[in-house]
């Protein structure tokens, strides 16, 4: 209908590439003040953390038979700690760890 030259086209707002496994335009790891730490000895793979995590930061590694945490997107809501049935997850202060640095130049 409108004859817009290709170089003057404006992308639709809020569009991010999909489907992708991880969304690099919405990294939320720097929201975190406490992180969940898993004790694999206590974990009985009930999958509560995988189900309840709002950002899908807990995933089952089927080969190793353990749940894996994604530090890049975990915002430290600690819902997983609350839902853990065997108390395998504990909350720990973020500055206790050297890793998990997500340093963004832009806020979002």
């Amino acid at each position: 209908m409108f004859d817009i030259p290709k170089e003057r086209e404006v992308p639709f707002a809020g569009v991010t590439p999909a489907p992708v496994g991880e969304q690099p335009m919405m990294i939320t790891g720097n929201w975190r003040t406490y992180r969940p730490v898993i004790d694999h000895e206590k974990c009985n793979l009930c999958m509560n953390c995988v189900i309840f995590c709002p950002d899908a930061c807990w995933q089952l590694n089927e080969a190793e038979e353990e749940v894996v945490w994604n530090s890049k997107y975990c915002k430290g809501c600690l819902i997983c700690v609350n839902e853990c049935t065997t108390a395998a997850l504990t909350k720990t202060y973020e500055l206790d760890f050297e890793d998990g640095v997500v340093r963004l130049e832009k806020l979002f």
């Binding site: 929201w31 003040t33 500055l95």
Partner: protein
């Protein structure tokens, strides 16, 4: 153009939003009592602030009229205040800073523990650590006073007070007695001023 002292406060949305705003507002008000030209405002880019997102608050202090009054951001902060210590892992908090700035962090840890997370620490003249959470107790979660509204809770009722004492100690930008005239929790202000650990870097 006279030199404008730019102060940037990094804080977390909603849960420590009021405290960060109090630091910027109280610094501007205290400097205003000395007859200087001041300004304090929130960052528009960060809005809408959600729980725990990194947000910024700004203050400017100048001996002459501030010409950059309508700039949205502090491009070259001289003093950076971090209300939540874990933010040093999540942000380049010293962005735009010229050499010789001051960093004030709310933490119960030593300055070395904070400095190891800051890759561009050469820019700093000094770092000051104060255990504001321990001194003042909990943070005030309140939206009064935001976006030009009436502040019903009052400035510096929570952890902002010891942080302001730390800023006065580390930078000397504003006088402590002027801060005490503005801040509500005066005891926490004085305790923060006393208990701040200042480490000179360069």
């Amino acid at each position: 153009m006279a030199h404008v002292h730019e102060i940037t406060v990094w804080t977390r949305g909603v849960v420590k939003d009021k405290e960060g705003r109090d630091v910027a507002n109280a610094l501007a008000k205290a400097a205003d009592k000395e007859g200087r030209f001041t300004q304090a405002f929130d960052n528009y880019v960060d809005l809408p602030d959600r729980v725990n997102v990194p947000v910024r608050k700004y203050a400017r202090i100048s001996d002459e009229e501030i010409e950059m009054r309508y700039d949205y951001e502090n491009e070259k902060p001289e003093v950076v205040v971090v209300v939540d210590a874990t933010m040093v892992k999540g942000m380049n908090i010293l962005r735009g800073m010229n050499k010789g700035g001051v960093l004030v962090v709310n933490t119960d840890r030593k300055p070395e523990d904070i400095l190891k997370f800051i890759p561009n620490k050469d820019l700093l003249k000094a770092i000051a650590c104060v255990d504001a959470d321990g001194i003042a107790g909990t943070a005030t979660v309140d939206f009064s006073g935001s976006e030009g509204g009436v502040d019903a809770v009052g400035l510096g009722a929570g952890i902002a007070a010891p942080l302001l004492g730390a800023v006065a100690r580390a930078t000397g930008l504003v006088k402590l007695e002027n801060l005490a005239a503005v801040v509500k929790n005066k005891e926490a202000l004085y305790r923060g001023h006393e208990q701040t650990v200042v480490q000179t870097i360069n």
